[in-house]
Subunit: 320 residues, 2 copies
């Protein structure tokens, strides 16, 4: 059970220690890496030793975040976790630190309070916003590089300021970061405007086999292992396909049927206001949020789809 | 030739007149409509008569902007143009006002100074930002509806705060507008997350016939009139396809060959830093910007493509 600490207390912790090891979450994203990179730079700027680590390989698109940070060798004395809600997210190679985290800086309301001390702000759309506030309120200067790091975290976790988690604080922090030198146009181009050819191949394949039901209110995408092999697409890219399903005008539910390597299917649902995705997924023993949910559908995927479609057809009062 | 006026002078003009007609530009977008809607509300709130007009039909997606504005009948006395750089943008039915515009509020550096008075801020990513500043600095209260209007203009003109024209002022204004009640999550969903099925059909068709050249550094999309008929896609959607061409990883130039109704082809180019799109389009008598340009390619479109590919192949020093 963590002790909750204020920004002033976080600043004191950083001031009073040296030799920091910063942990990021597995399958690293822009927010955990942006925080780790900015905090490493801040600590090095304060004359401390600091470095950050991850269980997984870091995707190439994030390499610019830490390219010029000096890698320091030292014996870690103080462990900080950034943007990590639970020790399971440390991944295999960092799991050794599960009960050794001195401080966690996070924004997930679901934080499991595993660290000795915790600074949590669940209203923040990104941990980078939480860290930005720590820096500004405790007078830690934000360099151009740190501004790029934090802007990257903020923009990636808010879908380029598109989602409702981009609140007034998030926009105001972005303004501050741009004034500190964050090159927002360039960062967004890098984060959002480049997709591998394999993604477009998968989009083409998926769209060409798309099925519509319930008066075109339900769209079904089916992604088989064969399609993944042929297109070279990755798991990430399946998530993007799933998000795309709901963006079709008039669609109330998008069902993405994805075959796993063992041949079994996983369904991912995205719905608009008229349907509760988690209620639909519960039919097959799954669950999730109101507008995004999932379930396992085994190897009888078409039968499982039929169960869902019958339920949705009843809810929308249209024929399948 | 316009007289440049300050925010205080704009406020005085609004205060000292009544019976305002507000003009928006043809092919109306979120920015011109957001400004018109917010300004109409502001003036009505000041006890004035005001309404806004457009040469074209307003796309359904923007209908929420002005749904609840009372439509007033009165004889216009004072004409304001919002987000209009040139009288040619008034369109046919508003061209009668070309030499009668009393005040223009705009952000285009290319403004042709056709109005009697002009308040222009070319650093603003949207005219909605210019208008936001007018409201805040002259103490005109921003209601929840006005905040939605202005946020819509700001987010659509900056590509949801993605482009580099979203500067610190733009982000800070967004924060202010959210605090005034703009429902940013909902607005962005409406503006950016919904696309007609015809668009996805065109994406599928275009991707399935995509060609790659120059070591996969050049992608070519060809959109025929037959494809447009079969998919039901519109001109707008061709622009989106063209924008997509450059987002493919590793692609330095995206060439979209679009057949017009008369059978002739128009080429649109999008390039990354290594190539100058306008230089390439000049080969065929066209032009444009460094990263986005276009040209007419007649009916011998494959020959025209060859000319471009030969030039690009030389520039990139790879075989076609």
């Amino acid at each position: 059970m963590s002790e909750d600490i204020s920004i002033a207390e976080v600043a004191e912790e950083l001031q009073n220690h040296d030799n920091f090891l910063i942990l990021t979450h597995k399958s690293p994203d822009g927010d955990t890496l942006g925080c780790a990179s900015a905090l490493t730079r801040a600590l090095q700027g304060m004359g401390k030793h600091a470095r950050f680590v991850n269980s997984d390989e870091i995707p190439e698109k994030y390499a610019f975040l830490y390219r010029d940070i000096p890698v320091e060798e030292f014996e870690p004395e103080y462990i900080v976790a950034v943007d990590i809600a639970d020790t399971t997210l440390l991944g295999d190679s960092l799991s050794v630190y599960a009960d050794k985290v001195d401080l966690c800086i996070d924004h997930h309301v679901s934080n499991r309070r595993f660290a000795k001390k915790l600074h949590l702000n669940p209203n923040d759309g990104a941990a980078s916003l939480t860290l930005y506030r720590i820096f500004t309120e405790s007078g830690i200067p934000i360099t151009e590089e740190m501004a790029c790091d934090l802007y990257t975290g903020l923009t990636t976790d808010t879908g380029c300021f598109r989602y409702s988690n981009a609140n007034a604080d998030a926009y105001r922090a972005a303004a501050g970061l741009i004034e500190c030198g964050a090159d927002n146009g360039k960062i967004n181009e890098l984060m959002f405007e480049t997709k591998p050819m394999s993604y477009y191949r998968l989009v083409q394949r998926t769209l060409s086999e798309m099925r519509m039901y319930c008066d075109s209110k339900v769209v079904v995408f089916k992604i088989t292992q064969e399609m993944l092999r042929e297109t070279g697409a990755t798991e990430d890219q399946c998530d993007a396909i799933c998000a795309m399903s709901r963006t079709i005008e008039g669609v109330e539910a998008g069902i993405t049927m994805k075959q796993k390597t063992d041949g079994r299917y996983k369904f991912s649902l995205r719905t608009r206001e008229s349907l509760d995705a988690s209620e639909i997924c519960r039919l097959l023993g799954g669950g999730g949020h109101v507008r995004a949910a999932g379930c396992d559908a085994g190897t009888e995927e078409e039968e499982a789809l039929r169960t869902m479609l019958e339920f949705i057809s009843g809810k929308l009062q249209v024929a399948i």
